[in-house]
Structure formats: C-alpha cells, structure tokens
Symmetry: C2
Subunit: 338 residues, 2 copies
C-alpha cells in the first residue's frame, strides 16, 4: 500500500532512487563519488537525500565490501593514564584518516576475555588492530587464530618488529637511571610494573642495562603493580632497612605512593631519597615535590600507529624507529646526602 512513506525502516538508496527518478545504482554512484554522473542528476539525488535525511546503512555496506573503515583497539587497563592517552591519540589520528575506532576492554589475565574481545573486533570487520594489552598471551591468541587483519602492538617487545611500535621504554629507563647515577647515587632500587606487562619488563631491562654499563652494583627489582597503593606499601617495606638513596619507579603513580611512605617516615625528598617516575602524567608536576620523570609522546605514538596500520595497504614507508622519550627533571631528585 504505502508507496512513498517510510515503512518503519530508514530510507534506502532505492527509496532515494525512486524519489529522484533514477536507478538505485545511480544513487550508489553519487554516494561513492563516481566521476561519470551528470551534475544535474547528482544534484537531484543529493536534494532527495537531504530531504529524506538519508543515512547510508553501514551494515549493508560492510556486508558487501567486507570493509568497515574501522580500527579496533584491544585494550586492558584503559583507566590508566598511558593506555587512555594512547587510545585518545589513536582515535584522533584515525579520524584524521577517515577511520573510526572501536574499543574492546579486556581483562588481560583471562584468556577467555581476550579471545572474546578479539572475536568481537574481528566480527565487526575491523581493518586494523591495535593491541594495548600487555600480555604475551594476546599475541599467542592472535597468531593461533591466524588473524588476517594487520595489527600493531603498542609495546616494545623487540621481537616481531613488523607489528610493534612503541616509545623506546628501554632508552627511557636508561635515561632515568643515568640521571640518578650522574647525581652520585650508588644504591638505587627499581620498582617495576606487573611482570606480565611488556613495558614494565622493558623499563626494568633499561634499568639493569644502565646500571651494569655504569658499573654500579645492581639490586633486585621490586615487582609492583602500577598503583600508588603498592608504591606506598613497597616504600614502607624498603624503609625498614633503608639501604638506598634513590628509587626509580616504573610509573608516576607508584612514585607518588613511594613519596608518601618516605614522608611518613619523616624523611625528606630529595635530601634523603631521590625519586624518578615514568610517564609524566599531568599531575606529576604538582606532586610534592614535583616529580622528575620520563615523558612519552603519546600523540606521536597514536599517529604512527595509524599510519603503520593503514600504510601497510599503501606501502608507505613509515618510520618505524621507536620514539625516544624525554627526561623531565623536576625537584624529586638531587645529590645523595653524602
């Protein structure tokens, strides 16, 4: 019965075609900017589209083209500053390139959750995959499923350079460590992130490398979990012995907890203990004292990430060198007391 009115569903190209007096294919051509269309025809179609508020159906298009114009992000811990910043940066860069982003937050300690998240993104037809989850497990699952989607991992594993992109965590950690050594510290502890975070491991490696390169005796790193709470308790624990003059923390939050514990013990920073963090979260400049830390350029990371993903089609020779982070010296570090 109903000939022109929409019957509950949104208008399709066929509705537009009928109203404009052309074939559905012509409408499709207008949508895809096909060159061979008479300007007046094109205009007529565009007018009708505007009139009926036509919106292309993404599902239908994805169905036939198998393309979604979407990049998937597999992420865990997305409330953390690092991952959150990366996501935002990637989103911005993707938008720039005309792509959209779909995020799946996973519990990286749960294989099932990883597989589900991955399946979700793949089922959505993402054309690229960014993994911001730490676990090697994720890569296993990825390989196992013989994913045919280009992917990038935002971690510095060192291995598998084709799929890895990152701030050079090792270099950053060496920067931080060298800074402490140059100030004269010899008894330096390192507080790591969770052992299954590849980033955490890289920072630890950087620490150890720089220590031995400078012939400073190394102490065993303390395994942390990124949280300020942990930093606090670790600090209390360490202070029962107090055989150090500086601590390099794997992120700023733990550094904050450490400083809390140190002050609680009646000590002063940096007079009694020097502290270096990692990340340079926006708050770090306002810690007490303002934190010396290592800054990562997340925006640049996001940009390169998208370029790498999308460029693999175009074969663009994207610079794949790791981004070198930068040491930001503030007031939480100084020469040891003696």
């Amino acid at each position: 019965m109903s000939d022109e009115p929409s019957k509950g569903r949104a208008p399709s190209i066929r509705d537009v075609a009928r109203l404009a007096g052309v074939s559905h294919q012509t409408v499709s051509r207008v949508l895809n900017h096909h060159p061979s269309i008479r300007p007046e025809t094109k205009q007529r179609v565009l007018d009708v589209m505007a009139e009926v508020q036509y919106q292309p159906n993404r599902a239908a298009r994805a169905l036939v083209t198998s393309r979604s114009h979407t990049i998937g992000i597999l992420s865990s811990q997305s409330t953390q500053y690092g991952p959150a910043s990366s996501i935002t940066a990637i989103e911005a860069a993707a938008r720039e390139a005309g792509y959209w982003v779909s995020t799946a937050n996973i519990d990286a300690s749960d294989d099932r959750s990883i597989a589900d998240g991955l399946a979700h993104l793949v089922a959505q037809g993402v054309e690229g995959l960014v993994v911001i989850a730490p676990q090697a497990r994720v890569f296993d699952t990825l390989a196992q499923r013989s994913i045919d989607v280009p992917y990038v991992s935002l971690q510095s594993t060192g291995q598998d350079p084709d799929h890895t992109l990152s701030v050079d965590q090792i270099a950053g950690a060496r920067l931080a460590t060298r800074h402490l050594i140059e100030l004269g510290h010899r008894n330096i502890y390192h507080l790591t992130g969770p052992q299954d975070w590849i980033e955490a491991e890289a920072r630890m490696r950087g620490f150890l490398e720089e220590m031995s390169a400078s012939d400073v005796p190394t102490t065993a790193p303390i395994l942390g979990d990124w949280t300020a709470d942990f930093g606090y308790y670790a600090g209390r624990e360490l202070l029962t012995v107090r055989d150090f003059t500086a601590i390099f923390s794997s992120n700023d939050q733990m550094a904050l907890g450490l400083m809390h514990a140190i002050r609680d013990a009646g000590l002063e920073i940096p007079r009694d203990v020097s502290i270096v963090g990692f990340d340079d979260i926006p708050e770090a400049a306002h810690f007490w004292p303002p934190l010396t830390t290592v800054r990562q350029d997340f925006a640049e990371l996001g940009r390169r990430c998208v370029a790498l993903l999308l460029g693999s089609d175009a074969g663009a020779p994207e610079p794949r060198d790791a981004i070198v982070p930068e040491l930001v010296v503030r007031s939480s570090t100084g020469r040891p007391a003696f």
Copy 2:
C-alpha cells in the same frame, strides 16, 4: 570450481550447512538456540562450526534484524578519570548483559564533531546511547535529529529525568561543603570545573546551597578547567590576598595543584588551609597530605546506566534515584587556625 575450500571469504552458514548436510536455515536455528532441533543434528552442526572456525557475520545479521547488540558512548575528555571510569564501568555492565560498546570521542566544543560522532554511532546501529559529554549542545543535536534510540546522559541536569542518570553531584558537593563548615571554616572558596560541564555546575550549586543553608557568606566561585595546572595557578592567585581558610575543589586534580601552590607559599595543609577534592581518584590517598574528597561509585553508575538503557525495552522498574556519593575524610582538612 572450489567446492569446499574457503574462497577467501570466511565461511558462511551455507558453507557450514553443506558440510553438515543440512539446510542453511537449520544452521541458523542452531545459532539462535531454536528449541526444535534434534540434538544429534545440532551437534553435527556445532562440530562443523568448530572445525571451520565459523564466525557469524555481524554485518549481515545487523542488516536483516536492524539490531546491533551494541551500545554507543558519546564521550569527550575520556582521558579524565571520571569519564574513563564511567566508560569502563559501562563496558563491564554491558558485557554482562551481552552487549558491546562503541565509543566516539568528540571535541565537545565543536558542533560538527558532535554531529559526526552522533551520526557515526547511529549509523552503526547502536541500540542505546550514553552521553558523557558535558554540553547542552549535545542534547540539542540529539533532539533535533529526532533520535529514535534510547539514550541516557551521565550528567545531573535535573531536567529531563527520563534520560538522566548520575551520581548526585549536588549532594556530594554539599557533603564536602558541610564538612568544612562543621570544622569551623567560614571563609571558603570554591574552584569549579569548566562552566559548560553540567557536573561542574551541579557541584557549584551544591556548594552554594550548603553555604547559604548554613548562613555562611558566600564567595564567588572560581572558574577552573579540571587540570592540576590550573589549580596551581589559581592557588597562587588566591594566596596574594589570602582571605580564606579552606577551598573546596571540584575535582582532585585541581586540589593537587592548589596544594602545590599553598606549599610553595610556605603554608601548611591543613594547618593554614584546608582542602577538599572531588572524585577520589586512586592517587588521592597518597597526595601530601592525603586528600579529603568525595567518592563516586562509577561501577554502580555504569550498571544502572546499562540497566536503564536496556530495561526500557523490558520495562524493568529500575531505580532511578541518583547515586549518593560518599565523603572520604583524610588529612587535608582540619579546624581553622583560629
């Protein structure tokens, strides 16, 4: 030519059907847990599915059902702790309900960006929409487009209660303010968030309400921007006069900046100035001194959010009362010096 091998495309229900010796419809029934299927037939189909690693094509399903099983989140400032936590909580709750989440980060100061983000989510066929962006603008666009998708805003506007869900920011702000008043403070400043954030406005209103309810003379609030940097500069500015004994900051980051400025001026917290924040970010307990603040239950918020969105179908009588936040008293507040 090729009869069984996959021809580049992923296997479809028809491939599975052929291999299992049934019709494609039977496969579909297995997928949808149709009751009338002989167990052995079902098993055979499931076996084939596992064998060929069958994955239902989401686009195809969405095309015919017009359902995506996806909830859209329109968000700005998603690196902020509040929004990020909300997103994570919503995602968790949605997954619980068998839904997925698609996020669109927008620049809330740009109408075009808002419209684009909205269009993106709608085009994706989201079945519900959560808006975590502050601007009234977003709602205008929403109304203007006569969106037929149920939506919820995570802001306490007070108006339009059907589409609003939030922590009761006003109550939280009153809690914080009353705490200061009860300690004996009379000269209290308030540092707000950006004026176009509805949450910021609500907290300001709570502050003003409590002040006048307690007959304390009110000072004009200071317009902030959520950042610790701003808190620092605002603090420096305020200290040139120093006509106050307490400050209630609209979030924890600005409180951190304030404390930085106060210490820089050689003053002590809370002896000389008391500080209250808002959010209870995980780091707040380790600020110096540990911050008295207002805690919001984001997980609960996310849960209710999803329930409200999905429940509107089922007609479930979901509690729509605002979630009442909780005051966490730590060491940044105390009685005024005299």
